[in-house]
Symmetry: C2
Subunit: 284 residues, 2 copies
Amino acid sequence: MKETARQARAEGRIIGLVPTMGALHEGHLSLIAQAKRECSPLIASIFVNPKQFGPKEDFAKYPRAFETDSEKLKHAGVDAVFAPEPVEIYPNDFSTYVNVEGLSERLEGRSRPGHFRGVATVVIKLLQIVQPHRAYFGRKDAQQARLIQKMAHDLNLDSEIVICPIVRESDGLALSSRNVYLNPDERRAATVLHRALQAAKGELDRGVREVMQLKDVLQRTLSKETLATVDYAEIVDADSFEPVVRVRKACYLVLAVFFGKTRLIDNLYVEPASPGSDDLVFHL
Amino acid sequence: MKETARQARAEGRIIGLVPTMGALHEGHLSLIAQAKRECSPLIASIFVNPKQFGPKEDFAKYPRAFETDSEKLKHAGVDAVFAPEPVEIYPNDFSTYVNVEGLSERLEGRSRPGHFRGVATVVIKLLQIVQPHRAYFGRKDAQQARLIQKMAHDLNLDSEIVICPIVRESDGLALSSRNVYLNPDERRAATVLHRALQAAKGELDRGVREVMQLKDVLQRTLSKETLATVDYAEIVDADSFEPVVRVRKACYLVLAVFFGKTRLIDNLYVEPASPGSDDLVFHL
């Protein structure tokens, strides 16, 4: 992989990377499509990263579908698939970790201790191996995407981190490889994530900027869904993921909710239409 | 700096980097000389890295000599000097750190908490900015050199880490920018580092392999020097820096000793003359 990358760089080509854990859905394919327009060669990686799963999480049962994934990637025009074995990425004496302090302790990091250390570490390794000019991540995992951007900036990495829109089912559920865990009742209930964000967006459209009021709308909508157990529902600064009091600059409304044993996340990105403007633009 | 590196790589040239904290002595210049033979362009960096100094350490008074350093580097044939300001390397919102777990907690890491986190973080940044094919470090800081090698391996960095021999004064004192802190009595006493290592080497030459016996020789030599206060005197595995019981594979004899307020380190590297051989080769 490194040799392929070195040669492509020597030829002045623009290397794109879409890192995935496999179990590909239309969300992944939208990243591939954007990367394909901007890069050649385009590399996709498939690696279910053990270091980003907690001891009680779903590493063992995380969906794996290498054959159909490979077909999808080939069909989408990917030039090469990088699919290393765990022992190649983490040899027995492996001990070096990257930590984005602060950001990695909040929200997802608080609910999933060690998760972001695993994410940052595997991503820096993939970026060093594949040497992409551009690497693509989905906004569904908003905190992860921001963490990787921050790492790339802080450590002077040579890859631009591109964040792409969330892809949703027709009923609003954000695509996730974990959606397959849901039974039919949970699947119906899971639309509450999108409904809650829509309700908050409605308030924002009406001019509401107070986080107390907006969180109230989120929580009221979520609480009506009996199959939903809220982990967190917060409104945070889009750079630091620290709580805000009013929506003035770019913010995320972030949700993490259990449906049975399945934990799903979703978010709404809000930013001023122009610097200093009170009008907002939404990415839902 | 990144643009210079990109262009040199595009031209197929071999970039060398010698990272320094300035206050250059013959030890640094020996790294430069070796790098000059192997690389073009050759970059030297000068950056007194605040993150690798503890709160009670000598960051403020660490010797700085930018003008004479620049002269020395020019004279040694360096093609460019990279000398960033602290705020360029660590902007206000900087929060990403690299940690080589295990190795960074032992010996120097135990005596200087946070030191190796600072070292690993600044070195990965310098390697990303300068993009060297080869980066050169002195064996005087043996644990640091090993830590950087391990980081480069674990994180798949594209730079080869080259470790170069210790340069010594005629009386055996290893060159260090901190030697200038010593008063004349301490300067004389500081030769005990080399004398202790020589005494242990004598035992190794006589066939002694037991660490208990070798440490005894180190400690007896050090204890005779009243101005010396031992921080540690250990014999460790050259890869992991964990204690060993017998000298069988590559090892370091490592010393850290205070002379007044000045803390100096030194070491002797020992390895089998050939795999499995009982004969030893020494790097003193």
